[in-house]
Structure formats: C-alpha cells, structure tokens
C-alpha cells in the first residue's frame, strides 16, 4: 500500500512574497523517495478546489519532506494558510522522478518554481557524491530567490532574469549557449513548458542527454484517469500518449514531442 493520509507540518518558511516552504513529517509508511517525485496534496478540507495539487519534493530526509510552493491560485493560497502543527492530506510519492547514477559532472537548469525539485536533486547528489561537479543555470521572470542555497549546491552558478537588472537579462537559453557541448554526463531540467521546449532541441542537437521534469494539469495523479499526457516519439500511433503523472513527470529530451 502506498501512502495517502494526514501528516503534521513541522515548519513553514516564507521565501519571498509569493514562494514559501512547508516541511512535513515523513510518515514511516513511505519507504523511499526520489528527487523529482511529487506528492498530490489536498489543499482544502471543504471540497473546493476539488482536485489535489501536485507539488514536487524540494528536499527530504528520513524524518521530513519539504515542499517549496509558489502561490498561483486558490489551491496554493490555501496551502499557504496552513500553520505549523496543522495536518495536511498528502498522497505519494508519485511519478518516476529523476534517474541518477553516479554522474561526476552535471548541468542543471531550473526556471521559476521549477527550481524546487532541482534543489532536492542537488541535495541528494551532493549527499551521495560530495565531489560531483555541478553547473547550474537558473532563470527567473522577476527577482531571483534561493540564490544562496544554489550557490552552496553548485560549482558554477548562472542566474538570468527577465526583469531584475542586477542579473544577466533574458532566458536560460543565453547562458546555455555558452556552455553547450561541454562534457556533462547528464543535464537535469525543470521549469515552465516554454523553457523546456526551448532548451530541448539545443541539447538534443548537441547530443547532450537531458532529463526534463515536466508539468501538466492532473486529476488522480497516479495514472488511472488519463487526463495528463506527455506525447512521446514512436509507439502504436507513430507517437504515443504517456501519463505525465505515472510514466513521468521525468522524460528524456530525446523522446518528447512538444506540440504547439
């Protein structure tokens, strides 16, 4: 049996006026977690919104699971109203998560709140191999956040912003251009779909393997309802629809078809 139930909130931290973290007690029933996996969280006990909200693990250890959440609409607003010691209904861990195996040199790319699971990944990789060489590119629309955290987790860190003039202006594709072709064993990326769509052909062309952590609206979150899809090259129909929640949310850049 997998876990679904109430867990206690251990701590809550405001990162900026839109982003916050919730750290919850890790239930004994959850034997293993992988970076890039997510939980489907019930945001309200009163029905509305009806559906759970998928939130990635941004950090975990034996006793706790951390979520880093950006307030977007009602669901995330409700999550923001929870206080320490209240209980929250989570379900997971869900999805495949990142595949990592002893890489020595990696590139990670995070965009916006997509940096949350990337942070979780880097923490694990550093824990397992303190000597791993990490190049990180982060892109933000406005003012960057968690900069210090990523500094500590990266050997090289480049940050771009669309509006904050203290940083390089533009999208992650700019710094990416300058390092494309370097001998990274793996690239890990998470961010808004337009970002993933922009970087994937660049990395594919350079034959750099990339794991994309993707996003789609979900309902069940476990692969039963088929409302979340990722279009994948090859398969019965010249393509096939895989389930973002169950077969993903990680797909390799080489296999994804980005439609308009």
């Amino acid at each position: 049996m997998k876990f679904q139930g109430l867990v206690r909130i251990i701590s809550k931290k405001e990162i900026n006026n839109e982003v916050f973290t919730l750290c919850v007690e890790r239930p004994k029933a959850i034997e293993s977690i992988k970076a890039g996996q997510f939980f489907n969280i019930k945001t309200s006990a009163y029905g509305s919104p009806m559906l759970r909200r998928p939130i990635s693990v941004s950090s975990y250890d034996e006793d706790s699971i951390e979520f880093t959440i950006k307030v977007i609409g009602d669901g995330t607003k409700q999550l923001h109203q929870y206080e320490v010691n209240e209980k929250i209904d989570i379900m997971g861990p869900l999805g495949n998560g990142f595949e990592y195996s002893n890489e020595q040199e990696i590139l990670v790319i995070g965009g916006g709140i997509g940096i949350a699971p990337v942070k979780g990944l880097l923490e694990v990789l550093k824990r397992e191999n303190p000597n791993i060489k990490v190049t990180t590119i982060l892109g933000f629309k406005d003012e960057p956040y968690l900069e210090e955290t990523f500094k500590a987790l990266s050997d090289t860190l480049k940050i771009v912003s669309e509006t904050d003039s203290r940083y390089q202006k533009g999208f992650v594709t700019e710094p990416l251009k300058t390092i494309i072709g370097k001998p990274f064993q793996m690239t890990y990326a998470c961010g808004p779909t337009p970002m993933l769509k922009a970087i994937t052909p660049v990395l594919n062309a350079a034959e750099m393997p990339v794991q994309l952590l993707m996003e789609e609206k979900m309902a069940c979150g476990i692969g039963a309802c088929l409302v979340c899809t990722c279009k994948i090259k090859e398969g019965d129909f010249g393509y096939k629809h895989q389930r973002m929640c169950k077969d993903g949310p990680m797909f390799y850049g080489s296999e994804v078809i980005f439609d308009a």
Partner: protein
C-alpha cells in the same frame, strides 16, 4: 466490524455484487493504480476504462479543466483495445473478488456488436454499453441522445451479448425516462446513469476553448443534483435495476442515490480527491443502516417516505 450481520449484497438483475459500491468507468483505469491505495476486494465491481475494438491514443491537447466542484474531461477513450484488455487486465482483476464490468464503445453499431460478441466469450461479469461518451467524434453521444438510434443499438447488441448487459445513458437529453424505457424494452438487464454532462471552458488568456474538441464531459459533485434527479426519474419508470452515479462523493450522496432507487452506485471523480472514498462510503452506509435500523441494504433502496 464490517458486515456485522448487515446484508450488503445487491443483485443488478443477474449481476450480483457483494456490496453496492462500484467505481465508474474511466476514473479507475483497470484497477492497478488504485490497488496500491485501497483493497480492491472492498469494491463491489469495477467498470474498467472504456474499451474500443482497436487501441486508441485518445485526444490531443489539454484533457482536463477543473471547474467549480467539478471537472471537464476530454480523454477520448484512450485505451489499449479490447484484446490487450483481455490478455493483460482480466487476469489482474481476477485476483480480487470484485466483479468486472467491461465498458464498451464503438464507432458504429457493428463495432459495438463485435465487441459484445468478443467479450461474451471472456471472463468478465457484465458488459456496459456506453452510448454516451461526449469525447469522441463517431458514436458516443450521438448514439445516446437519439431514441431511434438507442433502440437500434441496444436491440442489436443484445443479440450479441451473452452476458449481463448494462446500458449507460447520456444525461444530455430532454427526456431521460423515454430513453430508459426503450433501453428496457430492448432487453437491457440494467441501466447505468449518468455519464458526463456536456460542458465547455475557455482560456481567456489564449482566447481559445481549453479543450481541442471544444466541449468535454462534466463530472463531480457539481452534477450530483442533476444525476440524482435522473436516477430517481428512471427508477420510477423502469423495472430493471439502476446503477446510479454522478458526483457521488460522500455517504450522504450515496444514501440519497439509494433512496432515489439506485440498486448500486458508482463512484467516479471522487476517487481523485480521495482514493479511499469507496471504502469510506461503504462504511458510512453501514453506519446509516444501523442508525435507521436496516439490516438489508435492499430495504433501503427506493425507501422514500
């Protein structure tokens, strides 16, 4: 604690269930995923994801819109095809004591018949003729809303279906009673309703319908009052049993449907919010039965004062 002298078994006119709680087609896959969250033995029957003769990749684009206490879906019958179902999914489901309802969908009447024929020789407990799917171009909704077509498809499929036959109705009709009567006359063993209401959403930022196929199927608590009304109307109209569904999310909803005359219930969208909702509702019904002194669920069915 369960079943302590309470009789929960129901008979849908040949399909017997050890309890009246089933799960609705398309919301529970083939049971595999939910088996990690709930004991499938607790569920009276599983109506599997809508099957077609050939595998289908389903609809392109966004397939879901959340609405106020409801959701629009436009999955478009993505499924591995009836043969893969027979090979891979029936053996899995047979590990459990839950009954198997095969939800069948055709592009035309011949396909419906062919599927009924094929599945009549397989180890399933019931065939659920879905003439109400709003999310595919051919068949589906078009079949379910035209009384003459309903008559034709049910009578033809009946001839090929050597198993218990459920016909699942579309709520997008003026007079559900008239359709139900036809279905009964043409020999269905049981009527299931409601399928989803036809609805729409627009992305005001892109200024486009959210769903490629413009409209999708509305389900969830939002539709419950409409579903309950239709189940009541049909239960008043036909003699064959009704499998009621549409927005059932908690014990109160479930008891309302039973009182309205549904012999069994299907839970769909509510599974998404709470994967254990079926077991919780079953529990709640037992508590209700004890409080109101029913020892057999069959006494409760249709027991409006």
């Amino acid at each position: 604690m369960h079943n302590q002298s309470l009789k929960l078994g129901v008979d849908l006119n040949g399909l017997t269930l050890h309890n009246p709680i089933t799960v609705a087609s398309g919301t529970f896959g083939f049971g595999r995923e939910y088996s990690e969250y709930i004991d499938l033995n607790q569920i009276g029957a599983i109506s599997v994801k809508g099957l077609t003769l050939e595998p289908r990749s389903g609809n392109e684009g966004i397939r879901i819109v959340e609405t106020s206490m409801g959701m629009l879906n436009s999955v478009g019958l993505q499924n591995p095809g009836v043969h893969a179902f027979i090979k891979k999914e029936i053996p899995f489901l047979r590990q459990y004591q839950t009954k198997i309802i095969a939800n069948i969908n055709g592009n035309n009447i011949e396909e419906y018949c062919e599927m009924a024929q094929i599945l009549s020789n397989e180890d399933v407990d019931s065939l659920e003729l879905n003439i109400s799917c709003p999310n595919v171009k051919n068949g589906g909704l078009a079949f379910g809303t035209n009384p003459e077509v309903v008559k034709e498809v049910v009578s033809k499929v009946r001839k090929h279906a050597k198993k218990h036959l459920i016909v699942k109705l579309s709520p997008n009709v003026t007079d559900i009673k008239a359709i139900a009567k036809i279905v009964e006359e043409e020999g269905a063993d049981c009527i299931a309703l409601i399928n989803t209401l036809s609805g729409m959403a627009i992305d005001i930022y892109k200024r486009k319908p959210v769903l490629n196929r413009i409209s999708g199927g509305l389900s969830g608590p939002a539709v419950k009052p409409v579903a309950l009304r239709m189940v009541y109307e049909v239960a008043q109209t036909v003699k064959i049993p009704v499998l009621g569904m549409g927005g059932i999310s908690n014990t109160t909803d479930a008891v309302e449907f039973l009182l309205a005359g549904a012999t069994a219930l299907a839970i769909g969208t509510a599974n998404f919010a709470n994967p254990k909702v079926t077991a919780e509702i079953l529990n709640g019904i037992e508590t209700y039965m004890r409080t109101y002194q029913y020892d057999d669920i069959n006494q409760l069915i249709g027991d409006l004062r």
